[in-house]
Assembly symmetry: C2
Homo-oligomer: 149 residues x 2
Amino acid sequence: MDPTEFNARCSIARSLDVLGEKWTLLILREAFRGRARFSEFRDSLGVARDILANRLATLVEYGVLEKRAYRDENARERFEYVLTPAGRDLRVVLVALTEWGDRHRALPTGPSVAYVEEASGQPVHLEFVTADGRPVPASVVTSVFADAV
Amino acid sequence: MDPTEFNARCSIARSLDVLGEKWTLLILREAFRGRARFSEFRDSLGVARDILANRLATLVEYGVLEKRAYRDENARERFEYVLTPAGRDLRVVLVALTEWGDRHRALPTGPSVAYVEEASGQPVHLEFVTADGRPVPASVVTSVFADAV
DNA sequence: TAGCTGGGTTGGGATTCACAACCTAGCACC
DNA sequence: GGTGCTAGGTTGTGAATCCCAACCCAGCTA
């Protein structure tokens, strides 16, 4: 398979088409924190307004965020951006990045975010498991390609 | 906490400092496929040579790849780039991106890569689990921040 | 000594990003 | 009914990145 074709078929490359531009994953991090309005993203990230508008539009276009009208009291209709089910599935990606950063680029001040089970408050982490639920260390996971390349 | 400080402390942002530039995660995808030489990355990705040189240097600098000398028969010493333990820990990130792409940006031709347990060949996937190994659906995982923001 | 090969480096044009200024709708106030 | 305020953008300009192509360089072979 030639590189162009493999890259087109590769799910990592296809995910990065949506997520790979600067600021996109940080915008989603904020979305998971409950930010939804243009100004909330702007204030919490310090991102340029034009880039933010552009990224929000892309994420809406790809079905990661939904643009919803809302109306505050005594205010005109405005819009907010909330995670769709596809967007909520990105939690795994963000946690994977967090865990790697915590482990390999740790700061003396310790991690700034932890992930817990909502009901129990117990910390959770990511693991590989087989179809029948048996955990498997990452070191014995390997890739199988659809076509020999 | 002001946005700049939070971003500096955030492990996602710190991971993206290393991984967030264009091509970086695709280079790592190839590294997990066993590619190690400059020309292997170049040929399998079609990336510009200067960008590739730049990304490899960055990944070496941050301890994700190790630059190692090798010598083919009747050839001078050259270099290859192999995953360090920190680099191998990025498998989780790549699998997370793969799973999201497979689910939400699927192609009719089906996924181009699957992940399996090396010994058994059984397919594996990522799950949230608690410290005592109990699997938890992503929908009930929530974030806890070190400081109120 | 001329050519080939792997592994880069360099220069110039095209994109993308960042920052600041501007726009716009509707509400509130006077 | 004009002025100002605010959320949510859009636009224009310069800076940084990215891409491509040409070049370099060291050591091997012929």
